[in-house]
């Protein structure tokens, strides 16, 4: 009876429905199979018992193989940080973490409010801002237009290491650059074995819906296994376009694709850490656009969390995300809805902070706002303590009918710690608000972003590590130019 409240959990699927989806996924893998554009991958699948049509690059995977591969997927792992205090252990029932939405290369300028291409200077300030915000647990890449195209992913990682000691999430453009990035991570971690022990980077790879695994994806799955790097198997069919129109069908498809990724990974590297990254999308059937902020997305992703719980693997879902073009009410509505849904679905990672217009645009002030939304979501799923003292019967007796609790010792004892303390929400009088310039929520976020950027200095890398990294990056860029 004493202790924490139970963890709130939103579920759509009954146990029987979860099993039905799993069974059907096994059937689809066995009868329809997956396309694997990777000769070695097909060979490995064939040797493990899959029926392979090399001409069509199709592997039909028997259910026994899927079940066997599921058994070796770890149920938990830690996204390690250069600073161990910022580690993110991903475990079922544990607290959620968050990262920004990665991949964007446009921005709404913090000073002018104008939409424009993202530049290296923005990438740096964005990383620095994320480093300072507690509601952003780890960092995903964004890219500057003025960075060279060949090796842009490598340069991004170099910048990330310089500007944060939080865990770093990677995006790789080729298998070759990925290998360089793992070598960079090994330098910072202190060696390849140390990196395996404490992986300070993680990766995302996505099959192409429906049911297609590209050669780069297979390479990445295997390289992650080799280096012990945690990998998000990111399944994102667009309902009505690259996935079925029905929510059930889209869930069925992404679950099948996740299992396909599990098989390819675990075949080569049993025990390789994988995260179920359910990123279902929905096509707007009027325009063809892939929607980021739809209500169906929240529903389908929640069902995805249930499938991940069934397989006992960590789950990452869309958090703050939106179709909106700017920091308006639509943006706040969509991102708050998705973030709370994901947290209440039991997600280990909430993804998207700072990103707008699907995955194209990032914004510093939106990042600061999403820090607040994330922390509210963290607080929501944390629940609260219940025990004799907190139930406060004694204090209620002491104060008695008609009194007040302001000066009671019980209030003093629990004054701090019970409440979430917001950083951006205005809670004072109209008079005080007008006196301080009648600033809106977004204006306050902008000022906070500027203040952090004026002051915050990230924890620097040791000089020798910096030097070694620079040497490796120069070598890599030279080799890529050839």
């Amino acid at each position: 009876m004493e202790g924490k409240t139970k963890k709130p959990l939103v579920e759509y699927l009954s146990d029987a429905q979860v099993e039905r989806i799993h069974e059907k996924s096994l059937g689809i893998l066995e009868n329809t199979g997956i396309q694997v554009d990777h000769e070695e991958g097909l060979k490995a699948l064939e040797e493990a018992g899959a029926k392979v049509d090399y001409q069509a690059q199709r592997a039909r995977i028997p259910r026994g193989l899927v079940t066997r591969c599921l058994e070796t997927v770890p149920e938990k792992f830690t996204l390690a940080a250069r600073n161990p205090e910022k580690d993110c252990p991903l475990v079922r029932g544990g607290r959620p973490y968050s990262r920004n939405g990665g991949g964007a290369d446009f921005t709404i300028d913090l000073e002018t409010g104008k939409f424009r291409p993202l530049l290296l200077a923005d990438v740096r300030s964005y990383f620095r801002l994320m480093d300072a915000l507690d509601g952003i647990s780890f960092i995903a890449p964004v890219f500057g237009h003025d960075m060279p195209v060949a090796g842009r992913d490598i340069l991004m990682l170099r910048e990330a290491f310089a500007h944060t000691d939080k865990p770093i999430h990677l995006r790789a453009f080729t298998g070759e650059t990925l290998k360089y990035m793992f070598e960079m991570a090994a330098i910072v971690a202190g060696g390849k074995e140390q990196l395996k022990e404490r992986p300070i980077v993680s990766l995302l790879e996505a099959p192409i819906s429906p049911l297609k695994f590209l050669d780069v994806t297979v390479d990445a799955l295997w390289l992650c296994g080799e280096y012990g790097i945690p990998l998000d198997v990111c399944v994102m069919p667009i309902s009505g376009g690259t996935g079925p129109m029905t929510m059930a069908g889209n869930i069925q498809l992404f679950n099948t694709e996740f299992l396909g990724g599990v098989v390819i990974s675990q075949l080569a590297h049993p025990g390789a850490p994988l995260q179920y990254a359910a990123r279902p999308m929905a096509m707007d059937m009027r325009t063809g656009f892939s929607l980021a902020g739809s209500v169906e997305l929240g529903i389908m992703a929640t069902a995805g969390a249930q499938m991940a719980h069934y397989y006992n693997v960590p789950i990452s879902l869309h958090g703050p995300w939106s179709d909106s073009m700017t920091h308006d009410g639509q943006s706040m509505l969509e991102r708050t809805y998705l973030t709370l849904m994901a947290a209440l679905a039991g997600a280990n990672v909430l993804v998207g902070a700072g990103m707008m217009q699907q995955s194209l645009v990032i914004s510093h002030e939106q990042l600061v706002i999403d820090d607040e939304i994330n922390r509210i979501a963290f607080r929501t799923v944390e629940g609260f303590e219940i025990d004799e003292e907190r139930l406060a019967a004694e204090a209620i007796a002491r104060v008695g009918p008609g009194g007040n609790f302001l000066a009671d010792p019980h209030t003093m004892k629990f004054l701090r710690g019970e409440r979430y303390v917001p950083s951006l929400l205005y809670r004072n009088s109209r008079e005080a608000w007008e006196e301080s310039g009648s600033k809106t929520f977004v204006e306050r976020a902008r000022e906070k972003a500027r203040a952090i950027l004026r002051e915050h200095e990230p924890n620097p890398l040791p000089e020798d590590v910096s030097r070694d990294l620079d040497d490796l990056v120069s070598d890599a860029l030279r080799s890529l130019e050839k």
């Binding site: 890219f143 059937m285 194209l360």
Partner: protein
Amino acid sequence: MSNILERMREDIYNGNVDEVAAATQKALDEGMSAQEILNNGLVGGMDVVGRDFKAGILFIPEVLLCAKTMHAGLEVLRPLLAESDVLSLGKIVIGTMAGDLHDIGKNLVGMMLQGAGFEIVDLGTDVSPEKFVEAVREGANLVGMSALLTTTMPGMKTTIEALTEAGLRDHVKVIIGGAPVTAGFAKDIGADAYAADAASAVDVARGLVA
């Protein structure tokens, strides 16, 4: 206006493929001219479809089905019409840029253009400038390029330059699109047009061949 053509327009709107083919034959049997059936029945039907699509009443898959229905009627008329009357609006070579594997948008544009009467040569994803040039050389009057990644957008410029170099630039109109692509970028790289979504791609392509 004839009753049978009015029904035909409704059948197109409702995607009744068999009914439209049969009605087209019936109209011919009753002595109507192929040209009249085409203009007032088939094309007339698609005009209503286009209007309701723009108004947000019809959805993309419905429009695709309507187009398929219209084509069923057109097939019946084809032998009776002068070549110039049924010639496709044009042949468009489409593809996603080299290094880019995102193709749902490009596929959608292809289906919409086909529905509108264009002939489509789909080069798929990860398409190099050379492949575009080769396909244009085999005959086309439009090129449609798509990109989702900013890093693959420069391929659009390279392709236009390759077309110029091959002496083919004047033979084709180039239309570009994709999430990060803008009208300004289209202008900068010397494309003829930009389309923001699948529906406007059809309008823009029609405008370019008009």
